[in-house]
Symmetry: D2
Subunit: 460 residues, 4 copies
Amino acid sequence: MTKKGIKIVTIGGGSSYTPELMEGFIKRYDELPIREIWLVDIEKGKDKLETVGAMAQRMWDASPYEVKVNLTLDRKEALKDADFVTTQFRVGLLDARIKDERIPASYGLLGQETNGAGGIFKALRTVPVILEIVEDMKRLCPEAWLINFTNPAGMVTEAIRRYGNWDRVIGLCNVPVHAIMVEPSLLGKKEDELIHKFAGLNHFHWHKVSDLKGNDITEELIEQLMDENNGLPKNIFDVPFYEEQLENMKMIPCGYHRYYYRQEEMLNHSLEEFKTIGTRAQQVKETERQLFELYKDPMLDYKPEQLQQRGGAYYSEAACETIASIYANKNTQIVVSVKNDGAVPDLPADCVVEVMAYIGAEGARNVAFGELPVAEKGWLQVMKAMELLTIEAAVTGDYGTLLQAFIINPLIPSGETAKQVMNELFIAHKEYLPKFKEIISKLESQGLKIKDSVVREMQL
Amino acid sequence: MTKKGIKIVTIGGGSSYTPELMEGFIKRYDELPIREIWLVDIEKGKDKLETVGAMAQRMWDASPYEVKVNLTLDRKEALKDADFVTTQFRVGLLDARIKDERIPASYGLLGQETNGAGGIFKALRTVPVILEIVEDMKRLCPEAWLINFTNPAGMVTEAIRRYGNWDRVIGLCNVPVHAIMVEPSLLGKKEDELIHKFAGLNHFHWHKVSDLKGNDITEELIEQLMDENNGLPKNIFDVPFYEEQLENMKMIPCGYHRYYYRQEEMLNHSLEEFKTIGTRAQQVKETERQLFELYKDPMLDYKPEQLQQRGGAYYSEAACETIASIYANKNTQIVVSVKNDGAVPDLPADCVVEVMAYIGAEGARNVAFGELPVAEKGWLQVMKAMELLTIEAAVTGDYGTLLQAFIINPLIPSGETAKQVMNELFIAHKEYLPKFKEIISKLESQGLKIKDSVVREMQL
Amino acid sequence: MTKKGIKIVTIGGGSSYTPELMEGFIKRYDELPIREIWLVDIEKGKDKLETVGAMAQRMWDASPYEVKVNLTLDRKEALKDADFVTTQFRVGLLDARIKDERIPASYGLLGQETNGAGGIFKALRTVPVILEIVEDMKRLCPEAWLINFTNPAGMVTEAIRRYGNWDRVIGLCNVPVHAIMVEPSLLGKKEDELIHKFAGLNHFHWHKVSDLKGNDITEELIEQLMDENNGLPKNIFDVPFYEEQLENMKMIPCGYHRYYYRQEEMLNHSLEEFKTIGTRAQQVKETERQLFELYKDPMLDYKPEQLQQRGGAYYSEAACETIASIYANKNTQIVVSVKNDGAVPDLPADCVVEVMAYIGAEGARNVAFGELPVAEKGWLQVMKAMELLTIEAAVTGDYGTLLQAFIINPLIPSGETAKQVMNELFIAHKEYLPKFKEIISKLESQGLKIKDSVVREMQL
Amino acid sequence: MTKKGIKIVTIGGGSSYTPELMEGFIKRYDELPIREIWLVDIEKGKDKLETVGAMAQRMWDASPYEVKVNLTLDRKEALKDADFVTTQFRVGLLDARIKDERIPASYGLLGQETNGAGGIFKALRTVPVILEIVEDMKRLCPEAWLINFTNPAGMVTEAIRRYGNWDRVIGLCNVPVHAIMVEPSLLGKKEDELIHKFAGLNHFHWHKVSDLKGNDITEELIEQLMDENNGLPKNIFDVPFYEEQLENMKMIPCGYHRYYYRQEEMLNHSLEEFKTIGTRAQQVKETERQLFELYKDPMLDYKPEQLQQRGGAYYSEAACETIASIYANKNTQIVVSVKNDGAVPDLPADCVVEVMAYIGAEGARNVAFGELPVAEKGWLQVMKAMELLTIEAAVTGDYGTLLQAFIINPLIPSGETAKQVMNELFIAHKEYLPKFKEIISKLESQGLKIKDSVVREMQL
């Protein structure tokens, strides 16, 4: 780190999350003496960047600390000599996510923006961009840490390591943060009275909990969770898990496991929303619109309550704490997506997993979890295969590889409908998928178009 | 082996397949000098046993060889000093399979009698019985070989080894036999001009093909297969594989992979049959009825043409050849379900896999296949997890374990419908599931019954 | 833990290390409020127990805390309701170790009391006793933690887990403590400016070091170590490592690796000592004698300087810190022998390894190290095989298994001499090897005796 | 294969083994219709090539078949359109092997020309040459099979696959052939009454044996082997294995395991020979001289008896049978060094192992052996590490890597003597080690020379 203080760069700085990030940095200023912050965005996001950037500067100005928030559309200018780079960009903005969700839904399938059909296309759009960023970092800030919370965070982190050959990367997610914060109260305990261990992939992990006597109290917690159906981030519909299943696994699945363990109900709920209030992305778009309205208020110099309602709460908390822990070698326990190194022995040592880790100056020191039971081991291995196929397709532009990813994905029933969804998503996102240019041209020449209903919706 | 000649015992000897088995033995008498054959069945199958048994004796009498076909309902009497035991029984007969298929179908789900919901319940019914047979064999014929072709053959073989601790077992299936016989003609070649390598699980394997120059010609064969959509056993609906997928995997999947790779179409086809001509089991039942009519003809002393039409053609061919190869240490290449020993390095060395093997006096000498590509590796690992959960549930009677098997099964969308299907199958098969007695009582006390429509159908 | 305060039991309490242990507890009383300490020993060690026990009580009396030090020969009385049990006993006392070293040396072989021929016999003597202790603990203090520093600490911990089925165990060693304390000064840094990662087995591990910028500075440290030949516990002869080798491995081996990497020099040095000043055990025996002279002084109420000179310095430091970290869930980083859980992916997840871990209420949270380079991976796998063979022999009493351990041990050249050493060690330790009773009788009936020279030496 | 008949190229064709090779081809002409044979050698070997080449032609002329034996020093001319290439060359001829043996022996260490210090340097000399040959083959005969019996055959085959990226290679050794031929008679059986399974590395494998009832009779065979101390190739001193060890492993080690299991006796025997009749290589040199005297006899047109006395008997038998099996897709069982593919699950699937395989048109179909017991697993892993380090050093020319290979090698006690041996071997072989040119210059500039005694011996 430079002696003068820390330079932080946020790519996708025009995001509505930025104020939470600022709040996190302000709170930790004593241990994380920031000198300058750079918010980077693209031309299309310029207005938002200016709005949220002005608000970010107001937040610092209202604090006791003198920090300059720089706004730029020039990523390279920002990256020069950065100490930490956080990524929270969306290729194609929320409109792309709306397509990720609505196109599958229009065929009666789940979009699911992280691990489903939507998530696969989000990865296809994101991987080429993040690999460009990594190339810039190699030249401009080779010692910087990349803190990624662009979804699908696990696949993006895997791509950064595997195809970008960049080691200084940590992927983050708010799902485990949520679990760790909510669970103690279910057991009438304080946060530091529970000990957590995680194993799995992003949005696909399990955890176990011990008390301060060193006893595994996961089963006790499962009982409480079943009673209260608590412990769930806001962006996941709350159909309960089957108690018999949880008793068998003796671990706690993450909220996203509902998509796998209660596929029918999650699909129905998602189709219901699709037909009525709009998909999750559409709801988020409205929330975002309202947030930006608030941010425009020149008197607002603190994070507004409403941001908490947004799905990704605690993301920024995790990000700021990760950065501070690296900088100050704090050894804080945080759940992260990082190189396995054996922590999850059922997966290869060199792939990316999501585990509990102690975060310090050299990055993540993963807590070895040990072998998983047979069911969870099987799930994990098939999901990692799906991830690897997806990012391989993103890098090679191979149609067959992507088809394999679609077919193996447990949330997508294979067959003609799935293939049509895949083809229509190609058309929908064509400007962000240069690797698939030829394939898309061929599909278009066959007359393939996005369904009218989806197009109409987008214009609303 | 005894010097006097070989004693062969067939459990489920009243099956319509028995004549094929006899034909196979007669054909191989020179290398496999059989002394006596015992056909064993249960009280309920007595009539069929007598019909097919008489016919079997006629076949031998029409041959140049003097072999006595003994019929018995006393398994222990038959097993005493046996050299080879073949198992082709169905717990609950075809009616049970009809329930396996119709109950899921009545909810819009796939029954699939081997790897789907139906197959899971078939395993639950079969595993306790096969483990009893193994216990008898330990006492009565500890040096005998068990040649299993009761489905789901992979899971049953796994249970025999893992829970029965019986090593001298080989599981058989006609699917690979079919592929090996059909493929040469697609390439304008003779059968001995192709070299096959298999890896996977029963009804879930892939293979590669080389020519006599040692060149891998799998891709050429894929092209032919796509053109002709050939190479498919009769019991599988012939929706074509996606060419792009096969080009990516560079291996040939088995026919049953259609259920996984074209889930939508296979489901629709199965529901269509359910609503019109009846499920596959119902069709088989009719075929069987006709076969037994033929078998009653006291003049019939050879395998009738019609048996070929039945799904399992070549099963018995594989069985007879396996037995002859063990007896005469022939080193014939046969695809079998046996202990892995590393042949499929992506699965544990001590689990059961389906691979090409050279069969000789010490059983199967598996051909090591090497690592699978990422997609197939993921599929294989999740399917083995499903198998292990199913047979563990069969042995322990644990509801949660079985629920995990249902939920992880790629052919079953998880959720309430799946759980109701599972519960209704419990009721339907209660007499064959003593391990689950308490659970079934509880379900019944909650008023759970089999759907009227399914009951009605069964009475037809 | 009981509310009244902590009960600590030390088996082998008559050891000369006990005052260091007391000092460690006194230093940490604020976070580790001990109520009572029980020092347990056997009849033969009664005098020492009384001497060191009185001294231990004096140390507490000189402190601000009121703690009772109980002395007993009745292990069961002591274990009742214990919170922590530490084991530092030597089956056969130092005299047994002298035989472990002198008998091999009399044949020109290395004794090496931890991983060599001597260490193998130390394990044979110790494993049955530790398994008895574990059985007592299951009944008398089933929630207690067992902190083992009886050597060979890795094998003993493996036996406790594998054959004793006891999970709450942590094996400790002073070698990594030494490295962590010495290395910063070599680089002109403070202790908290280096970050360590360890992987391997007890007395057979490697480590890597990073600085607070997150850069791996192991190579820089290797240079310093080669220059100064520092970082070595006192009980290991200081022949330098080959710089070319260390540069290749890019890790720092532990001091004991000298036995493997400089076998010739270590053997010559050990034979030289054998012939002149006596083996290490003989030197230690003299040191111990002097220490006990000091301990008898009724005015001595603090740990004397001279104890530092003894080989095991810091052992007790590690033990006290481990206990305090468990009790207060401190998450201190300590290098421990514990269940792998994947931290060293080159070894099975369920075996014991020595790794860096964060120690807290649920025990060790191992830092995943990732795969080792090819040479170190090979070494590790062969050494773990040696360990597993040794403890299997200790449990089964099988001569062939032990012979395999001897032959595979890299410090023992196989052949008649090695076999004679093995046989003579059987005779020498016969009273502590009840499992091998018949084998030893047979050897004695063949006229086998301990060499006169060794007997004579023992009587000195 | 070309229709006109087969072209076979033998590199190192001037070897004394060539007549055995010719005999093998003549015997198999019916199934292996050879058109032309090319014997390739280097300038230094020209005389021998002419002698043995003339004799080879006489052998064919005395046969019913018309085959031309071509002699050339131009490898490329020979390789053009070859169908099979066999390699039996020695870089540096027998004189280099004499140095490999005598230099270590002069320091009291084992030379051991395959897995010891000598074998390591043999690999260093051979790997660069075989990689050149492979490059030639890629251009001149890309469909040819490379049948390697240049030692150390396992390491050479590993190098061909790993660094040459050439798949069509099979490594051969006569050691397993010997075992398979000798063992039946020990049990009063015929050759086709035993079934063999092998696992391990070249000169480092174990095997198990079954009878025609499928029973494992390895333990019975061990008893016979211990009684008769039979089953040993001529080039290995016959100190017996320890019966207790063999009973524990329940497998039969290969003859070369004597070096590992009876290190002391093998070393003493080798030093004894060194001081009296000369090392093995010196004896072989004399045998070779005598053989070439015979070969000069223009009347000799058959393989002379005396060749049988030479160590490598059956090598050529294995080579000819391998070639015929590939050509005619015979599925003969032969023990070969090939890509593992899981056959030995304790080693990575992509490394080279030595296993039983069925040899056919696509090469080796390895028989999966299953997991090894703990001791043999450990041995195997450490030996594969030694092999990988050696060939890596051969390719990179890195001194530290080679030092690691020396230190990990179980036949070399680490330390100054070993390092001096290594350095002196560098000097001795400098003309064949271009990758180590700088290192050797440095050693020479420090005044390092080959010991006079070794030099003197060489001049004899």
